[in-house]
Amino acid sequence: MNKVLDIPRVNAKNMTDKEFFYGHKACAGCGGSIAVRLALKVLGERTYTALPAGCMSAVGFIFPQMAFNSNAIITTFPGAASMASGIAMGAKALGQKDFKTVVFAGDGGTADIGFQALSGMIDRNDDVLYICYDNEAYMNTGIQKSGLTPYGTQTTTTPAGKNLPGTLTHKKNLFEIIAAHDIAYAATASIGYPQDYLNKVNKAKHTKGASFIHVYASCPTGWGTPTETSVEIAKDAVDCGLIFLAEYEDGEFKLNRNPKEFASIPDYLKKQARFKHLSDQDIEIITEHRDKKWSRMRKHWL
């Protein structure tokens, strides 16, 4: 694997002016489209993109429009990773060089439906970058709960009421599960910290073998936030500790951001309509879960 210092840095000043995800029909202020757009700009023109069913395939391929400006294909819902493996192998068999294969899947397409194909792809160590943009529910089909929906979220399949506070389960530890495969490179990121995200995509681009990035991307429609705050809210989630920025390479975890003090959790939650109903007791459960997770991460990852 390349050393970090050998990789040319990418930032807003020197990245390509070309747009590879343009004119799409995503909702105004879509966080997932920021994640896809920035990643494709880092990866460059010679990129094969595979997208399972999800928001980004729904908004990019509305006939006759084609919002992707490089090679892109819609895959079956559970088979995005295996199709990308095939694309990478096929391009290699044709003798192509300096290309990258990338998957953009939502949280449902990664943690629930597409998981076995992803696990197999990492096991075979195919040269594919898998990016999961996590907006914490199946947003494309109308906001249903997924494996990455956090505790207390109101969705259409887990409505909040007198007896239940919405979703009863906590977020799946997806990053740790992926890292447990002994993957070449894995990271978590947030669109609230775009430079950090660019660096991680750039690092994954220069990694040979399977790599995985879990990027937290807001969804104004599903979360009930104003469109202009979609980047701010993704930053708030990191600042209050509900989302962490970490990396896994060479068998070691690394915590990129270890704040001394967290921002207030209720402030973050109360900005969103999906958490409006939460009682103080529920917020306490969320805080407790965060503290437990952080004490574990600080003990083992630092």
């Binding site: 202020g29 489209s33 757009r37 006759p64 084609m66 090679n71 430079q195």
Partner: protein, 97 residues
């Protein structure tokens, strides 16, 4: 401006006019998104320090650099207001259409 432009869609009259795959060529954009917009971003070039924060966080990639200045492709801007909200110098304001 280094990005796809609006192309006219001609209704296919012959089988050869249809794309060979399920889609037309990459970057084929027959319609604009400008009709979605209620407010539009206006850049104050004197206050702008060219930090490119708006360029990074624009969900639609409609902000581009030209001669050291920020320009906005209003054909595809949806008026979400992320650029104005994130601008550290408040150089972008959202004006009613």
């Amino acid at each position: 401006m280094n990005r796809p432009k609006n192309k006219e869609y001609k209704f296919p009259t012959h089988i050869d006019d249809y794309p060979t795959g399920p889609q037309y060529k990459a970057g084929f954009l027959p319609e604009t998104n400008a009709g979605w917009r209620k407010v539009r971003p206006v850049v104050d070039h004197e206050a702008c320090v060219f930090c490119l924060r708006c360029y990074l966080v624009c969900p639609d990639g409609t902000i581009f650099k030209e001669d050291g200045k920020i320009k906005i492709d209003l054909d595809y801007c949806k008026g979400c207001g992320v650029c104005a909200h994130e601008c550290p110098k408040d150089a972008i304001s959202m004006v009613k259409e």
